[in-house]
C-alpha cells in the first residue's frame, strides 16, 4: 500500500501549507488565547468578587460553555452572529462577519470559560496575607488585584495556561467546518485537489504532534523552574 505513496506532493505544497495555513492557525491560537485569558480573568474576578449576582452570571456562563461541543458552538455562532449583529445594529439585512472574526470571537468566548477556571484556582492559591498587606499599604481593590494578586496567580498558573493553549492550538483545526484555510484546511484542500489523502493527513498529524510535543516539553521545563523559585 505504501509503495505508491508520493511524498513529493508535500514538498510542493509546503509554502501554501505554512504561509497560509499555519500562519492562520498560529494567529488564531495566539489571539484566542490572549482574548480568552483577558475575558477569562474577568470572569474569575466576577466569581470571586463577593457580589452574588455577578458570581452567578459568570458561573452560569462557564458551565454553559463547558457543556457544549466546541464544533457546534463554532458552527452556530457563524450562522447566528450576522443575525445578532442585525438585531443589535437595527440594520435591514444580516450583517456580514468574516469567517476569521466569527471563529476568533467563538474561540475567545469558549476558551474564556476554561481560562477563568484556571485563573480562579490561581487567585485562590495566593494566601490571604498578600491582599491584606497590599490593602494595608493603601492600595485599592483594583490595584491590589492588578499589581499583587493577578501577577502571582498568572505566574503560578503559567504551565497550566500554556497546556490549555496547546489544546486550543489543536482545537483551532475545527474551523474546517467553516471551510477556512487553517493548517488542516490547507492540507485538506491539497489532499482533495491532488488525490493524496493519506500523505497529506499523515503529514498534518505529524506537524500537530511535533509542535504540541515541543510545547509540552517546554511547559515541563518551565514547571521545574517555577518550583525552584517558590
Amino acid at each position: 500500500m505504501f509503495a505508491n505513496l508520493d511524498f513529493d506532493v508535500i514538498r510542493r505544497a509546503l509554502p501554501y501549507l505554512f504561509y497560509e495555513g499555519m500562519t492562520f492557525t498560529l494567529t488564531l491560537t495566539a489571539l484566542a488565547a490572549l482574548g480568552g485569558l483577558v475575558f477569562g480573568t474577568a470572569l474569575a474576578l466576577m466569581r470571586l468578587s463577593g457580589y452574588k449576582i455577578l458570581g452567578r452570571i459568570a458561573g452560569v456562563y462557564v458551565d454553559f460553555m463547558r457543556s457544549l461541543p466546541l464544533v457546534l458552538v463554532i458552527f452556530w455562532f457563524y450562522f447566528l452572529v450576522p443575525y445578532i449583529g442585525q438585531w443589535v445594529t437595527g440594520a435591514s439585512r444580516p450583517i456580514s462577519v468574516g469567517a476569521f472574526a466569527s471563529s476568533l470571537i467563538t474561540f475567545i468566548m469558549f476558551e474564556a470559560a476554561y481560562f477563568s477556571e484556571i485563573m480562579r484556582a490561581g487567585i485562590q492559591s495566593i494566601s490571604r496575607g498578600q491582599p491584606a498587606a497590599a490593602s494595608a499599604l493603601g492600595l485599592t481593590y483594583a490595584q491590589t488585584m492588578r499589581y499583587v494578586v493577578l501577577p502571582q496567580a498568572f505566574r503560578n498558573m503559567l504551565p497550566v495556561l500554556i497546556t490549555q493553549t496547546i489544546v486550543l492550538f489543536q482545537d483551532t483545526s475545527l474551523v474546517y467546518v467553516l471551510s477556512i484555510t487553517d493548517f488542516l484546511g490547507a492540507a485538506s484542500k491539497v489532499a482533495q485537489r491532488d488525490g493524496r489523502l493519506v500523505e497529506m493527513y499523515l503529514f498534518a498529524a505529524v506537524v500537530y504532534f511535533t509542535i504540541s510535543c515541543i510545547a509540552s516539553f517546554g511547559v515541563r521545563r518551565l514547571q521545574a523552574r517555577i518550583a525552584i523559585i517558590r
Binding site: 498587606a133 490593602s135 494595608a136 499599604l137 490595584q143
Partner: protein, 243 residues
Amino acid sequence: MIEISHVNKWYSPSFQVLTDCTTSVTKGEVVVVCGPSGSGKSTLIKCVNALEPFQSGDISVDGTKVNDPKTNLPKLRSRVGMVFQHFELFPHLKIIDNLCLAQQKVLDRSRDKAMAKGMQLLERVGLKEQAQKYPANLSGGQQQRVAIARALAMDPIVMLFDEPTSALDPEMVSEVLDVMVDLAHEGMTMMVVTHEMGFARKVANRVIFMDRGEIVEDAAKEDFFGKPRSDRAQKFLSKILSH
C-alpha cells in the same frame, strides 16, 4: 492618635471574638498588646486599619473614624503602617520594588523619588545590598526588616505590628527588635502585638493584656510588670517569663 471604644466583633452569631474593647494610643506612645493564643490580639489590631470589619463600637485614627462608610479607607491605610507575622513581602517583586509599589501607586511619587526613599530606608535597616534581590533569597529576619522599611516608606503616622518576630528563628529576633526599638526611640507611635517582654520593658509605655476577646488589663508598663491586678494576667506573665 488611635481611639478604640466599645468595639464588639462576632465571626458568627455564636462566636464573639472581641467583647467591649476600649483603649487608646496617644501620639508618640508605644503600646504592647499581649495575651494567650486565640485571645483576639490580631483581630483587634486589624480592626484599627479596617482590615477586619466589626459590628459595633467605634475606632478612629487621627480623628478619622475607620468604621464610617464615607471614610476613604485606602487613604487612611496608607498613613497607618502595618507589619505582619509572616512578612507578606510581594514575592514577584524585587526588594526595592516592594518598597516602591505603594509609594508610586498610592502616593503618586515619581519613580526616582520612590527609589531614593526606598534606598534610604533599606540603608537604615541595613539591607541596601539586597535591593535587587527577590524576597525568597532573604532570611526571615531580613524579610521582616524589609517589611518594616516598606511600611515606613509611606511616612506613616502610626505603626501596627502583629507578632513581628514570632515566625522567626531565635537568632534573628534581635535584628528585627533592634529596628523597632530605634523606631520607638525616634518617637513613632506604635501598637505592637508581641510576647517579647524584653521589648516591652525597654520601650513600652503601656501594656494591654487580652484574654478571650476582652481587654483584661490596660496598665502603665511599671504597674503591669510590677504586679498585674488580674489573676489571668499574673498567670500569663509567670508562664512566659519562666522560660
